[in-house]
């Protein structure tokens, strides 16, 4: 178990990176606390697998250092770092039995045979593999194979961290739940540092204590699922987390307030002071869940045209047009919906202000 630290880390797949765009990972300093269950979330190609492979040691970063509990491991191999990693496609050693597969990492390290057996039995039981321990791994289903891959990570009691690279991609949906729950149980029992790469926000939010959102080679935010939902620190986080994502409305700073589509709203004085006089694009972000919809105008409300309504079972998704901007609103079931013009209220408690994509307040 270890606290994993990345100091001034950057990576480029090109031999001589010239500009920022050449870097798959932009320079970052970041800490994964010991025993945490982290999800590394981001769209495909954002550098999350690169980051994972750098932590495990499969890839050597072009700049910066990786520290495990303060020890520099940048130059060490995955085996020397004592890390476990589970890959997108299940890797099993076909010619071995399930038990031999599970014991493989221990035998490679010269662990005593009695202990290997004990550990294999324990891990096999935890992952519900006991009935098939003596079977060959070749003929098993994808989810069983993935359990074996996971088991090879868990069988070593001293791993620094267990890394998952989209491990449930090839698993049937109904089995995904089971495996994800298993992972959570495993974490609660062993308290290993777990880092779980995924592009599926549901997976990230249900699995992890802390979610790290990456985009374009940068870590944008580290936070609990609630923090990511309520206070996205970056426009991208707001857009990427939530379904549908956050609405963004361009606005202009006025004396002591904000103008959205010509309607002025007062602003908290401290915030107003930070916004006023600065240049850069200002945007107001609000989640579809928090927009209030009224049939009659109220003070500070914005008139919008209702364009489309989709009934999604337990809520309705309203698409409304405010000037030239499209807004998504989640409407609880049973609430009346005005036809044509609706009056929107954006509660200040849930409205966030972004300047050039970054959260201001």
């Amino acid at each position: 178990m270890a606290r994993v630290e990345m100091a001034e880390l950057a990576h480029s797949y090109r031999p001589r990176p010239a500009s920022d765009a050449d870097y798959a990972l932009k320079k970052m300093t970041f800490v994964w606390e010991d025993g945490g269950a982290y999800a590394l979330l981001g769209p495909s190609g954002c550098g999350k697998s690169t980051l994972l492979n750098i932590i495990s040691g499969l890839l050597r970063p072009s700049e910066g250092r990786v520290l495990f509990d303060g020890r520099d491991v940048t130059a060490l191999s995955p085996a020397e770092r004592n890390i476990a990693q589970v890959f997108q496609f299940p890797v099993v050693y076909d010619t071995m039995t399930v038990a031999e597969n599970l014991g493989f990492p221990l035998r490679n390290r010269g662990v005593a045979e009695a202990e290997v057996r004990a550990r294999v039995a324990e891990v096999g039981e935890m992952l519900e593999l006991t009935p098939m321990l003596d079977r060959r791994a070749a003929g098993l289903t994808a989810d069983q194979k993935q359990k074996i891959s996971l088991g090879r990570g868990l069988v070593r009691s001293d791993v620094a961290a267990i890394l998952f690279d989209e491990p449930l991609t090839v698993i049937d949906p109904h089995l995904k739940w089971l495996l994800r729950r298993k992972l959570k149980q495993v974490h609660e029992r062993f308290r290993r540092t777990l880092i779980y790469v995924t592009h599926d926000q549901n997976e990230a939010l249900t699995f992890a204590d802390k979610v790290v959102v990456m985009h374009d080679g940068r870590v944008l935010q580290l936070g609990t699922p609630q923090e990511l939902f309520e206070r996205p620190e970056h426009r991208f986080v707001g857009y990427f987390i939530g379904s549908p994502g956050m609405n963004f409305l361009p606005c202009v700073a006025t004396d002591g307030g904000l103008a959205i589509a010509g309607v002025e709203t007062p602003l908290d004085p401290s915030l107003a002071a930070r916004v006023n006089g600065s240049n850069g694009t200002l945007e107001l972000g609000i989640r579809p869940e928090f927009i209030e919809l009224h049939e009659t105008p109220t003070p500070g409300s914005l008139a919008a045209q209702v364009e489309r309504v989709e009934d999604l079972g337990n809520f309705r998704l309203v698409t409304a047009r405010l000037a030239s901007h499209e807004l998504k609103i989640k409407l609880p079931e049973g609430q009346a919906l005005p036809a044509g013009t609706a009056h929107l209220v954006l509660p200040p408690a849930w409205a966030r202000l972004y300047r050039d994509g970054r959260l201001v307040g």
Binding site: L58, A79, Q85, Y93, M96, F104, N108, A138
Partner: protein, 289 residues
């Protein structure tokens, strides 16, 4: 699902039947025809039953040729398969050198078989051949036309040079098809280089190696052109393999009956051993052997 009977479906099979009939069945039946009859000319034939078979099976020169043939094929498999796998493991995985290595490897496979024999005749000649002359200058007498051992050494060298690239190319294709995740997982599991080979590369190459072993066994068991050109079966009968002996009987002595009986036995041996190899290799993969 309901099946409907429609005999017109047979029409669709006719083209294949015709092709197979003319390319395989009819020539084979001709051989069967010759093996059980004594044929003097059109319309003149005598049924002899198993006489030719008995004659051929009792032929001690054929026995010698058969053991020679097994020795040759055995050596071919023992040398070429491990060597081909080693070459494949040492080949570059990416970069410009891949194409270069592939082209160089494939060169021997592109040369006509009788030309291969000629190349090696010249190469090993004691007077002007690069190899033959060099060895003789070192003081080791080397002449494949006089010494049976030298003839075998030359033949094996030629065979290994000619066909190991095929094994290497097949093995290389098998290796390239293994996803990177396997090697990464092995690295993380702390597997040694040998364990990676034993538990990942070798099992994943099983399919292509089965093909390689079958091809090399059949080809080497049926070898004709190269030893015919290089040694003509000599010195003495030292390199008279089954096919060379068969041609001697059929063309040299014009004993078509025994030659036909011999051909059928020859064919059955190849078929039997190919089947045994296939079964064994399949069972190895499933862990039953």
């Amino acid at each position: 699902m309901d099946k409907t009977e429609n005999n017109r479906a047979w029409l669709l099979v006719i083209p294949v039947l015709l092709v197979v009939a003319f390319s395989a069945i009819i020539p084979l039946m001709t051989v069967v025809n010759f093996s059980v009859q004594d044929i003097f000319g059109p319309g003149e034939r005598v049924w002899v039953g198993t006489e030719w078979f008995e004659e051929v099976l009792a032929d001690t020169r054929l026995h010698d040729a058969l053991w020679r043939q097994f020795l040759f094929s055995g050596l071919v498999l023992l040398i070429e398969i491990p060597l081909g796998v080693m070459i494949a493991l040492a080949m570059p995985r990416e970069g410009w050198s891949v194409s270069l290595v592939l082209v160089v490897l494939a060169l021997p496979l592109l040369i006509p078989w009788n030309v291969i024999g000629t190349i090696w005749i010249i190469f090993t000649r004691p007077d002007i051949g690069l190899m033959g002359n060099t060895i003789n200058r070192l003081g080791l007498g080397f002449d494949h036309t006089a010494s049976p051992l030298d003839a075998w050494v030359t033949l094996m060298l030629m065979e290994v040079w000619h066909w190991t690239p095929l094994v290497a190319l097949l093995a290389y294709a098998g290796l390239k098809a293994i996803p990177d995740a396997y090697f990464q997982a092995a690295q993380i599991d702390g597997a040694s280089r040998w364990a990676v080979f034993r538990y990942i590369q070798l099992p994943k190459m099983r399919g292509v190696l089965t093909i390689a072993i079958l091809l090399r066994f059949m080809d080497s068991f049926l070898i004709y052109a190269e030893p015919f050109v290089l040694t003509g079966g000599g010195p003495g009968n030292a390199t008279t393999f089954l096919s060379i002996y068969l041609v001697k009987i059929a063309v040299g002595q014009f004993d078509l009956g025994p030659a036909a009986a011999f051909s059928i036995i020859y064919f059955l041996i190849v078929l039997l051993f190919s089947w045994i190899f296939y079964q064994v290799l399949q069972n190895v993969g499933r862990g039953r052997a």
